[in-house]
Amino acid sequence: MNRGRTILGTWAGFLVILVWCLLPVVWILSLSFKGPDETAAGSPHFLPETWTLQNYKDIFNDGDFLDALRNSFGIAIIATALSVVFATLAAYAIARLEFKGKRAVLSLALAIAMFPVVSLVGPLFDMWRTFHLFNTWPGLIIPYMSFTLPLAIWTLSAFFREIPWEMEQAAQVDGATSWQAFRKVIVPLAAPGVFTAAILTFFFAWNEFVLAISLTSTTSSRTVPAQMSFFVGPDPFNPPYGQLATASVVVTVPIILIVLLFQRKIVAGLTSGAVKG
């Protein structure tokens, strides 16, 4: 009796979670198939009355949006790659070596994770103009690196602590060179951690908005979230619901693909080290 109730409750909870997570996603998907006439007239129905691909055609013919998409991918991928390389070096040192200042590095990382990004908008705006980094890719890549490093360092050092490093020596005893021992033993063990850190870093860079609107001024470096927030369409009294929803769907596709492929790794990375002790 009691067991049956628990199972029923779990089922109900399962459905609630699914609806919670997917309803807004289904909503923008539905909105993206509503034609401009339907949204301009006002359409309170959840699903489109007539389904159309017009918004997708418009969005993929919009040069500004395509530029923003290119900027988003370029900036996020470069920032992720650099951040993960630096974080791997630092996390290896933190997990494996004894050195002065280890605690200071961890505290600095923690402090930066809590840092209010908006506080930097003023001074960075001023500095970037002086160094000619305003409205350039590096102008966004550099701050994205510093804000993703803490997360990457914490995740990676938690992973590296779990690696059985003795296996490296064991392989060498068995006749492997140190390069082979590293390549064949350590890299496969460390790769999942590095990969997880890369996914979380990419999510941050893909999502970032404050710096993206403050440190850019044209589509030569504006990322999708920034471009979307400035997109008003031809009629200021009628926001282009359909096109904004379509742009939303397009930038959400990579996120959904990554989540579908790697959900296990992301969950492990998000919670690693969070509850130790």
């Binding site: 309170p44 809590m114 908006v118 908008v121 510093s146 969070a274």
Partner: protein, 316 residues
């Protein structure tokens, strides 16, 4: 090892020296490996913060850069004497407290479901990661359209509620607009909260819960006396990171109201002074105040939970 100094030229001396050489080398290698990361982190945070501290003492407006003049702390007195600053701080605090409290409750319920569930674990984790991964701006648009008068579904689905009609304008007055902003914030970040709480929940020993059950504790007592106290570290990490994150709220407000209907937050005020008004001096003072507030909050929350910060980890 210290005897090596006293004993002249014994065999102990070289080995001690070699060992300390190794320690020195390890120390150096360690520092070398963390150096690039530390430099990048400092260049973009510590240096601009010092810059902000300096600029905050000047009257400095980019539209009239030649008027730059040292004015001491009067930017700070201007801000602290301005009711707009306090109104925005109050908004931010309300958003922070309400969203974190709601997320904690819903997040815990979600964590319980995910902990108990035996089927479709992959499916539920995939679903829960979608709001986590989705761009905040996209979430803001999705909910803005949801609450829209002529294109949203809230008014048509919930018109049977006494305070909602077919033409309720959610962005037309303060509290409904705040409500819409908070819904978007809660929707997007509850999954993160629930995953952290799930990790904490899975560390609570089943034996302890079973023992409490045998001793006759009700489900409610088991929750409050056994489960929650044993997840204190996880709850504290979740609350700390979410509270600081919520305090920095910007994206949702920018997209949904642009600060209209007095929905401006501290971050939004700072942004507006710097980027829209080019008030670098005043904006820098706001930046410094925001930074200090976040420090104070972090200190308050850790003191409240009395948990070593080293257990916590970053969430960018």
């Amino acid at each position: 090892m210290s005897t090596a100094v006293a004993t002249p030229a014994t065999k102990a001396a070289p080995s001690a020296a070699a060992r300390s050489d190794r320690t020195v080398a390890e120390n150096r290698l360690g520092q070398k490996l963390v150096l690039p990361a530390v430099v990048v982190m400092l260049v973009v945070t510590a240096w601009p913060m010092i810059q902000a501290l300096y600029l905050s003492l000047f009257r400095y407006r980019l539209t009239t850069p030649d008027d730059k003049e040292f004015i001491g702390v009067s930017n700070y007195t201007t801000i602290l004497g301005d009711s707009l600053f306090w109104k925005d701080t109050l908004n931010t605090v309300i958003i922070m407290i309400v969203t974190v409290a709601v997320e904690l409750v819903i997040g815990f319920a979600f964590a319980m479901v995910m902990h108990r569930i035996v089927f479709a674990r992959g499916a539920i984790r995939t679903a829960i990661l979608i709001p986590y991964g989705i761009i905040t701006v996209v979430s803001a648009f999705a909910w803005q359209f949801t609450f829209s008068i002529n294109n949203g579904w809230v008014n048509s689905w919930f018109h049977w509620l006494p305070w909602i009609g077919p033409d309720t304008n959610w962005f037309g007055s303060h509290w409904p607009a705040m409500f819409a902003i908070m819904v978007s914030e809660i929707w997007k970040t509850t999954p993160f909260m629930s995953l952290l709480l799930l990790a904490g929940l899975s560390q609570v020993s089943e034996d302890m819960i079973e023992a409490a059950k045998v001793d006759g504790a009700t489900a409610w007592q088991r929750l409050w006396k056994v489960i929650l106290p044993n997840m204190r570290a996880a709850i504290m990490v979740a609350v700390l990171f979410r509270a600081l994150d919520a305090f920095r709220i910007f994206d949702n407000i920018f997209v949904m109201t642009r600060g209209a209907q007095d929905t401006e937050s501290s971050s939004f005020l700072t942004y507006r002074q710097v980027i829209e008004q080019f008030q670098l001096g005043l904006g820098s003072a706001l930046s410094v105040l925001l930074f200090l507030t976040v420090l104070l909050l972090a200190w308050l929350i850790t003191a409240m939970f009395r948990v070593d910060l080293a257990q916590a980890r970053g969430e960018g």
